[in-house]
């Protein structure tokens, strides 16, 4: 399942209500959506609501996704941005109603396009081979050294180093494919 493209997975959700496909999409994007929620909404409970709202929208509306118009990452980014905007507005209204203190001002919602670029990179990462994705995931997201990756994957250290180079090269190529769309 982890070598299947996002667009194929969302197609399975649309066609067959495939919960395993939805689970795989969750594994690929939930941390990014939750992180964006914490950053822009300034509240972990609301960030959880954001993740829930986004995946419920993906589940309900998968059949409306058109891969000819946008990548899955772009589509789910738009859903995230719109839901975050809605949650920010509702939160401000609620704070205003229950408290006379000045409302907490969450960060600007992706004013720099950083979140959009992060979704694009998550998409590019999902398109490289599983063996390349594994070495980058262990190094960047689990913080393992090259020696630790060698032990964890039972792979010679020299191979881990050359594989890391090949993985970054593959990711760069995948990023360029996105930019060329």
């Amino acid at each position: 399942m982890n070598d299947v493209a996002d667009e194929v997975l969302v197609g399975r959700v649309a066609q067959a209500g495939d919960e395993r496909a939805l689970s795989e999409l969750y594994d690929r994007y939930a941390s990014l959506i939750y992180g964006a929620g914490v950053r822009y909404l300034g509240d972990r409970a609301l960030a959880e609501d954001l993740v829930q709202d986004v995946f419920t929208a993906v589940w309900r509306n998968a059949s409306g996704f058109d891969p000819g118009r946008a990548s899955f990452a772009t589509w789910v980014y738009r859903i995230t941005r719109n839901r975050a905007t809605d949650l920010i507005r509702r939160r401000r209204a609620r704070v205003r109603t229950v408290s006379s203190d000045p409302p907490f001002e969450p960060g600007e919602e992706d004013a720099t396009g950083e979140l959009s670029r992060s979704f694009d990179l998550a998409s590019a990462l999902s398109r490289i081979s599983p063996v390349h994705r594994e070495v980058l995931t262990l190094a960047y997201f689990h913080g393992l050294s090259q020696s630790e990756i060698s032990r964890r994957t039972d792979t010679p250290l020299g191979t881990v180093k050359s594989r890391t180079t090949a993985a970054l090269r593959a990711l760069r190529k995948s990023m360029l494919e996105d930019e060329g769309r």
């Binding site: 209500g17 941390s31 990014l32 939750y34 859903i79």
Partner: protein
């Protein structure tokens, strides 16, 4: 393997700062003399920097959230792939009878064509509402809307004599388009008008200050 190829294989860990001092020194000496490896390093560094940005953006959600979300998904009709054409024909015949007899209500319960106002004369849109217990689901498609300013956003409203109710907020892409899906609360069933306004942070929407960019009549299908 010649030295160039050996050192080229180390460029990934090099840009990550993951080499020991001896290997790092060898790579740096090689880079001084090898333009193609310098070019490779600048390409790999772009991927490295973007990955570092992504890591700083991501945060692992609570472990139980995934189970809560996946087990809480609303039940949905599964479209089974038929095993044989005969089965399809048989099913279609049965469905045809059921539709003809009024056994099934159509999915779409209401829709509205959204008309532009002077604030956005090039804009248009469609809203379709489908029943999905306990709430209805609305699909909104808009086009030709101006890009909202830095503190602005669009808001979808259901309206009726004497009041209106917010159904969600959104922005549009660079082409002024957006397609979005939202739950419509049960209490929206008595509303017969639809409007999209442009709103400003941090002001709360006010009826007196409403600036509709699209309006329409919600008609039952």
């Amino acid at each position: 393997m010649n030295e160039h190829l050996q050192l080229r294989d180390l460029l990934g860990p090099y840009v990550m700062g993951a080499l020991g001092p001896e290997e790092e020194r060898k790579v740096e000496e090689h880079l001084e003399a090898c333009p193609s490896c310098r070019e490779e390093v600048s390409d790999l560094r772009l991927a490295h920097e973007r990955l570092t940005d992504l890591v700083s953006m991501e945060e692992t959600p609570p472990r139980e959230l995934k189970d809560r979300i996946l087990t809480g998904m609303p039940r949905r009709e599964t479209r089974w792939v038929p095993l044989a054409a005969a089965a399809v024909l048989c099913a279609l015949a049965v469905l045809g009878v059921l539709y003809a007899s009024g056994f099934f209500a159509p999915d779409e319960v209401a829709s509205a064509n959204l008309q532009a106002t002077d604030l956005a004369p090039e804009a248009g849109g469609e809203l379709r509402v489908r029943q999905d217990d306990p709430n209805a689901q609305a699909e909104l498609e808009v086009w030709g809307l101006p890009q909202p300013g830095e503190d602005e956003y669009y808001e979808l409203w259901f309206g009726k004599e004497g009041g209106r109710m917010s159904a969600g907020t959104f922005t549009v892409d660079a082409q002024g388009r957006e397609t979005l899906y939202m739950s419509v609360p049960e209490e929206a069933s008595g509303y017969d008008q639809v409007g999209i306004t442009i709103e400003h942070f941090p002001k709360e929407p006010r009826m007196s200050a409403a600036k509709p960019v699209l309006t329409g009549e919600l008609e039952e299908s």
